[in-house]
């Protein structure tokens, strides 16, 4: 295959008069997909400064052929090739950063045809990081070099990296009959071992992170419940819908920004937080005043009533916003991820959510333990009558506490809207998990809730790769049920004299 390609590309090069934009553009526009692919490959092998403009246009999918601009029908294959061509163009760029980026791109997608070109660039490369990156890109191609010495160097180089690709390349190299030179084989084996070790670390870290991330989401979903259920003893089945409302308020805020402040759209989540909190808190307080107020001390009744509320809220949202999901976009600073290791990317939205979750927990803790309101809440929840006698306005405290719980759920909703979809049934998916988290953590125990959430998240993520998502979830449920049998009071139970 390579040799044939070489010849072909040479043919192409001969055909090409040194490249005025127009001709290339013309050729490209005229060509069919496979011919376009060949052109791109040839250009990638022979980047010239003149062609930079054209390739940039190609990236946009718009080129101008004799005067008028023409939209191209690209497919993924062509896009890939354009990226490669683009990269090899950038190797010519004066800015070392660009060159580095290009080299990294080429590590993935360099074609054998570019061997010669890359070699030349490497020789001329001054910037050290770019140099090493480029040499690695080159090494990928040199694995098939006729000279064992070159191959050996290449293999050594690959061994240094933690690239998943390097692993497969080395593995293919080690297949029977591929690599004949003994020294290279040995080097490849040692290198492979190194790479595997590096990859393993990445995987483990990745698992841990996803566990934490899932935990933080569970935490945000359950925290509000820890207050309404844990402190007020209300089985708030409408809690999930509070999450949902929070997510929908995020959606509305986003719409408003699109309408009125498209410039600042990046920051709509920041405004969404207070809005969501306010909206859900109000709904919560309304519900508390109108319905739940009459049901304190009858937990099972609150369960039924709040379930009714949740049905109404769901259908209400369906009528208002339609049954379909609505679009909530991640702003730029929440999309993409942080490349920690070659095989470990930490998505920004998840990182932010973890931090956010902890922040919310901290604030809640402050609120409950360091403020008058918190004191009142704890007083009321421990002994309603006594608190009333001490002049604590129990009614208002209940209302505020419930509002607080709902508001926190609203904040959770904002976070959920950044990782999942926003639809009327959003809450239904979280309600059972949230309850399990709270019960597992021990009712009325903020700390317990935190531990339970992260515990569940991590356990889930350890199980999932082993036995699959479905069985994993079932198993977790089973384990929780068993655990509650063992410790009905949850992880953090207050012991005390049994009072009847």
């Amino acid at each position: 295959m390579p040799t044939a390609l070489y010849r072909f590309i040479f043919a192409c090069l001969l055909l090409l008069p040194p490249g005025a934009y127009a001709d290339d553009a013309g050729d490209f526009a005229a060509a069919d997909n496979s011919r376009q692919a060949q052109l791109l490959e040839s250009w990638a092998a022979q980047p010239t400064a003149e062609r930079a403009a054209l390739i940039n246009d190609l990236q946009q999918g718009q080129i101008s052929v004799d005067g008028q601009s023409k939209t191209l029908r690209l497919n993924n294959r062509l896009r890939g090739l354009i990226e490669t061509a683009q990269a090899s163009q950038q190797l010519l760029a004066p800015d070392p950063k660009l060159r580095l980026a290009a080299a990294l791109q080429l590590q993935k997608s360099a074609k054998p045809a570019q061997l010669a070109f890359l070699g030349r660039q490497l020789a001329g490369e001054t910037d050290s990081t770019a140099h090493s990156a480029l040499s690695l890109a080159l090494a990928n191609l040199q694995l098939v070099d006729p000279d064992p010495a070159v191959r050996l160097a290449a293999v050594r180089l690959l061994g240094e990296t933690g690239e998943p690709l390097a692993r497969t390349r080395l593995e293919t190299l080690l297949q029977d009959g591929v690599e004949t030179d003994a020294k290279v084989r040995i080097a490849a084996e040692t290198g492979l071992a190194q790479v595997k070790r590096k990859l393993l670390i990445g995987d483990l870290l990745g698992q841990a992170f996803s566990g934490l991330s899932l935990g933080s989401i569970l935490l945000l979903a359950a925290l509000g419940l820890a207050i309404t259920f844990g402190l007020l003893g209300v089985i708030n089945m409408a809690h999930g819908e509070m999450l949902m409302l929070g997510a929908y308020s995020t959606y509305c805020v986003q719409l408003l920004f699109q309408r009125f402040a498209p410039g600042a759209i990046e920051f709509y989540p920041l405004l969404a937080l207070p809005v969501a909190f306010f909206v859900t808190a109000c709904v919560g307080m309304l519900v508390e005043r109108t319905i739940i107020r009459h049901l304190y001390g009858r937990p099972l009744e609150t369960l039924l009533a709040t379930w009714g509320i949740s049905l109404i809220l769901i259908q209400l949202v369906r009528v208002l916003f339609g049954a379909q999901n609505v679009e909530v976009a991640n702003p730029a600073w929440l999309s993409g991820g942080l490349q920690v290791l070659p095989n470990l990317v930490l998505p920004y939205n998840r990182l932010v959510i973890i931090v956010f979750a902890l922040a919310v927990v901290f604030l809640t803790w402050l609120l409950l333990n360091k403020t008058r309101l918190g004191l009142n809440v704890r007083a009321v929840t421990q002994n309603r009558n006594m608190a009333a006698c001490c002049g604590v306005p129990t009614g208002r405290v209940d209302m505020l506490a419930f509002g607080l719980g709902s508001g926190i759920a609203g904040l959770g909703g904002v976070a959920l809207s950044q990782v999942g979809n926003v639809g009327p049934d959003l809450g239904q998916g979280y309600i059972i998990d949230s309850f399990l988290v709270v019960v597992l953590g021990g009712v009325g125990q903020l700390a317990g809730t935190v531990y339970a959430a992260f515990g569940l998240g991590i356990a889930n993520k350890i199980l999932e790769p082993q036995i699959g998502a479905v069985l994993g979830k079932i198993l977790i449920l089973g384990l929780i049920i068993l655990f509650i049998q063992k410790r009905p009071q949850g992880l953090f139970a207050l012991k005390g004299r049994v009072i009847d």
Binding site: N75, S210, G322, N421, G423, Q428, A469, V470
Partner: protein
């Protein structure tokens, strides 16, 4: 006291049951047609728009003077995403409302739930959604795609040079029958194309799964081993978290293209499409198709949505199941005209070989024997405007193979519809 109230209870139950009998209201000069789509519950998300589309189509037909000189009268019921309720409502439509035909169902389970009722009462159901096949009832006309009209061409495309000549495949789906069957067929097909089992990874998630971190990172790992494509039969709601995770973990369509069989324009309305650009979907129709029929179709729909101010009307879109509904209802009307009657058996006969110039730009034919439409297959690339750019399509409509040749034992199945009872 107890005994007294016991008696009351019975009185009540009976009286409710009695209501069943009192609902047979017969309008004079109209033909009743039933619409059996969930308007509440989990499936409302997909099915409500089909109900509206059906109503629009019926209006359209009535505007042209109805069928056999009679106007069509739609009877809408809500099975509330509750499968037994589908059977109950189906029976009600057929026996109480005496409808001539029913358009409805989305999920396979709902279809399977009503199927015995339609076969027992010899009713007529038009089913507008792509499904796993393995069924061919004389009382159902399937206007959605069978696997060979969607899945297999899609994979062929992925393996082609333009599709990126993928050599490894991740079959990712929600754990229920449609993905399972489709993936089973695909695996067999891939084997026939010389793809080894080690290059195929099958992954399933529970309904409403929302955490795709592990799965996406596994896909990444898997894709390091060679040119990989993901074939997603992930069910509606889970798609958003899946695609978001893909984008955030930096898997670009150019590296690992994802082709989805259940993501259409309607679903994209709920997704921020920027990160998805370049990912694929396989359908038999896309809103972006350029032809006069489709332009009118889309325009009519947008107008209808505005006129009846459906939620989100400003962003109203059409999609494949809607087109299938539209085509189905029109074909039924044509058949009824041709048969000069709405009698099920006569209509069934007339349906065979019925043709209709569909919005997809092709003239679709109802197969003479197997009750499935001949449909074209299109591969669309997601664009940032939530539309699809058709990058590949079949020259001709393809005949459906409801009994997939890739499933052992199907070769013995007859190629014409027979009652399963």
């Amino acid at each position: 006291m107890k005994r007294r109230s016991l008696l009351k209870a019975f009185t009540l139950t009976a009286s409710i049951a009695a209501m069943g009998m009192t609902w047979t209201v017969q309008a004079a000069e109209t033909i009743k047609v039933g619409i059996l789509h969930s308007l509440s519950g989990t499936m409302a998300i997909s099915e409500t728009s089909l109900k509206d589309m059906a109503l629009m189509t019926i209006d359209e037909i009535n505007a042209k003077g109805g069928v056999n000189g009679k106007l069509l009268e739609a009877v809408v019921v809500d099975p509330a995403s509750n499968w037994p309720l589908f059977a109950e409502k189906g029976r009600q439509l057929l026996t109480q409302d005496k409808v001539a035909v029913v358009f409805g169902c989305w999920t396979s389970v709902s279809r399977k739930s009503v199927l015995p009722v339609f076969e027992e009462l010899n009713g007529l159901l038009f089913y507008p959604v792509q499904y796993e096949g393995e069924e061919m009832s004389p009382n159902v006309f399937y206007t959605g795609a069978a696997p060979n009209q969607q899945a297999i061409p899609a994979v062929e495309y992925l393996m082609s040079e333009d599709g990126g000549s993928a050599r490894r495949f991740v079959l990712l789906g929600t754990d229920y029958v449609y993905p399972r069957t489709t993936n089973k067929i695909l695996r067999a097909f891939l084997h026939s194309k010389g793809v080894a089992d080690k290059d195929i990874e099958e992954v399933y998630t529970p309904f409403g799964h929302s955490d795709y971190q592990t799965i996406v990172s596994n896909i990444k790992k898997f894709s390091a081993g060679g040119k990989t494509a993901v074939i997603s039969t992930v069910n509606g709601d889970s798609n958003v978290p899946f695609y978001k995770e893909l984008a955030n973990q930096g898997l670009k369509a150019t590296d690992v293209p994802v082709i989805a069989f259940s993501v259409g324009e309607e679903e994209l309305r709920g997704i921020d499409t920027k990160p998805l650009v370049g990912n694929l979907a396989a359908w038999n129709y896309f809103e972006s198709v350029h032809n006069p029929v489709n332009q009118k179709f889309v325009a009519d729909w947008k107008a209808y949505a505005k006129a009846h101010n459906l939620p989100g009307a400003d962003k109203a879109v059409t999609n494949d199941p809607m087109e299938a509904t539209y085509v189905g209802i029109h074909m039924w009307a044509q058949a009824a005209e041709q048969a000069k009657s709405t009698d099920v058996d006569k209509v069934r006969e007339a349906m065979a070989g019925q043709t209709f110039a569909a919005p997809s730009g092709y003239t679709l034919t109802m197969d003479k024997t197997n009750h499935h439409l001949h449909k074209p297959v299109m591969i669309g690339e997601i664009e940032d405007n939530g539309q699809f750019n058709v990058v590949w399509q079949t020259k001709e409509p393809i005949r459906a193979q409801p009994w997939s040749p890739y499933i052992p034992g199907n070769d013995k199945k007859p190629d014409y519809a027979v009652k399963s009872n």
